[in-house]
Assembly symmetry: none
Homo-oligomer: 199 residues x 4
DNA sequence: TATGAATGAGCCTTCATTCAT
DNA sequence: GATGAATGAAGGCTCATTCAT
């Protein structure tokens, strides 16, 4: 008697998830071209062939991973928009950003690899651009809301800083004072400080 | 008549340089693993075999390229130190940074690839860390010199912003307002503005 | 309530038949090596695994298909032998041959593939040789019966022509004048014509 | 010092030829899908990788082989057209055909495999059709020239017979009376016999 | 110095077959 | 009887590297 379709679904979901997680980590670490399907399969504890029961190509794996990121990104905006107070929005934004650097490190690295090598996944670039545009718009609105001048340029510099921080952190995780910087920014962009500056 | 040893030396240097330049461009574009020696050789107009007359492996090529960058970086510090006035230093620093993004785009991309994938070149990481440490120290000193508070953290955020800007620029060169941002930062960190803020 | 063994038997036979028909078509179209078990199973509307419940290997499938052909071939001889008049036999033979080309195209193609690539199914070759020997003997007898000289060689040429026609037809089904050729041969080898020539 | 370009050319030609010959034999024996590049390389005494220095894909190999056949076919027509006497033409045609079966057995088998599986090489089919059309036209003209009635249909049957003979021969080379059949046909279609029949 | 033929390891992918359910 | 997840060998192809010249 065959497995019930429910059983199969569970097996598939579990295995698929394991492949995706392993792949994300390895792609992040060694890049797309630097990661082999053998490696992914071995690390995920399955046979090489099985990978192709779940994804029709190595490229599809990276695409699915990226799609998952886009979902995440979408959620991020929803979270931010839960706040109506611009000061709270700003705080949430900074917190999310630092959290993402720390807790979704692999995805973060992978995203930047994809930015640097758009050949790997053509669509990633345009979707990434779209994501950053929305992000910067959001920041700009918030900046305007809290009275920061030159909000457009400042938002760009601010966004760049957040990602630059991610980069520095990736370079030297053990020693980078991520918490300290986070605290610094949270204070600098707190209601209290901002009102002091722009009163 | 055989070539004089002087001629040979010149030929060697010219060929070596061409290989390095080609490799840098291709590594930047397609990544280390995404670039083949054949491609480099063909693009450089030489035979595959000859490449191994100049470099003992593909890895060595990237190492030499990185070494050249380090030399460049060294020069950068010298340039900055030509100025004694911290305001001038700061301006020079911003200008250099934006210039580098624009005019050494390939090297810039390659560097970030190496940061994201330290496996490709083990040594790069530590040297990169060292470079950034010096850089951030320099900025910190300058920041202190111009009276910025929390100079250590601010320097880190500032440095991160400069690199983040580079990243955004790479992602969307056609549309990124690099000049505008540059102008914005030059103004924001100009003597006039800084003295206004910190008077 | 479990199925009765009679029901099971019927299911088995139906499924087996569907597998064989699907396989024959696909083998004919894409060759033995060019056809996968997955493809056969999918096309037959069953699971991959079930195929192995009916046949112990891909090779066995082609063997069973070929065995069925041999049965068919045996029937062919019986049909021919229903006629006692050699002229009628000859007509029946030509008609059968053309019918087979047209209505058992897949089997026809498969047979010729097996002739060209005996490695796929070792036994096919000897059985095919046997079949053709009997066929040519039959033709030879008929030719003798209608007074054709050099019956042995003529039979071989005639048999070859019939198969050659099949080949040409397969090459260019839309344009090949199969009906016209059939008519031509039926006339050429009709009692009337043969008696005219050999009177 | 590098090899002279003449030396390289010779090496390339020799190796390429060896690959093509090996491939033709193996394709003929086991079919396109049943032959691996490894096998070809091993049989040709070279490494797998080197094959790709000469052909960019397995498909290209079969295409080049087929192109060589087309050249041969072209030559065939030239040879036939050297004769002006239709009787001589007919004799030459029969002789060439039997020679080809015997001495270009591999190519013969490969051609028929390609006819049976047009998927392998799309172009083969149309070119083969063209070749056979020309061939049958040629035969038809000759048949008309020697006074055979229903020349169009007879030419088709005759051509089919020649290929059918090839098929039979391939099936059972040791026992097939190729020479005898050849002699039979040469006599049957000799000037003497034809004039006897159609006088 | 320079070439490009040659190698062999390794990559992505397919597929016949097995097996737990 | 039936399913489809899983395996492992093999296939097509690429590529860093070597070597004869």
């Amino acid at each position: 008697m065959p497995r019930s379709s429910e059983q199969n679904k569970q097996i598939r979901e579990k295995t698929k998830k394991r492949i995706l997680e392993t792949a994300r980590t390895l792609f992040a670490k060694n890049g797309f071209h630097g990661t082999s399907i053998s490696e992914i399969a071995k690390e995920a504890g399955i046979s090489k062939g099985l990978t192709y029961n779940y994804f029709k190509s190595k490229t599809e794996i990276v695409e699915v991973i990226f799609d998952e990121f886009l979902l995440d990104a979408h959620n991020f905006f929803e979270v931010i928009n839960n706040y109506s107070d611009p000061y709270e929005k700003l705080t949430a934004l900074i917190e999310s950003s630092f959290d993402y650097i720390e807790y979704a490190e692999d995805q973060w690295k992978l995203n930047f690899s994809l930015i640097l090598q758009p050949q790997v996944m053509k669509l990633a670039r345009s979707q990434m651009i779209k994501f950053y545009d929305e992000m910067l718009n959001e920041i700009e609105k918030v900046f305007k809301g809290v009275g920061i001048k030159n909000a457009a340029s400042e938002a760009r510099v601010f966004g760049a800083a957040l990602d630059g921080i991610g980069m520095y952190y990736m370079m030297n995780k053990e020693n980078y004072p991520l918490k300290k910087i986070k605290k610094h920014l949270l204070k600098k962009y707190s209601k209290e400080e901002l009102q002091k500056t722009f009163r």
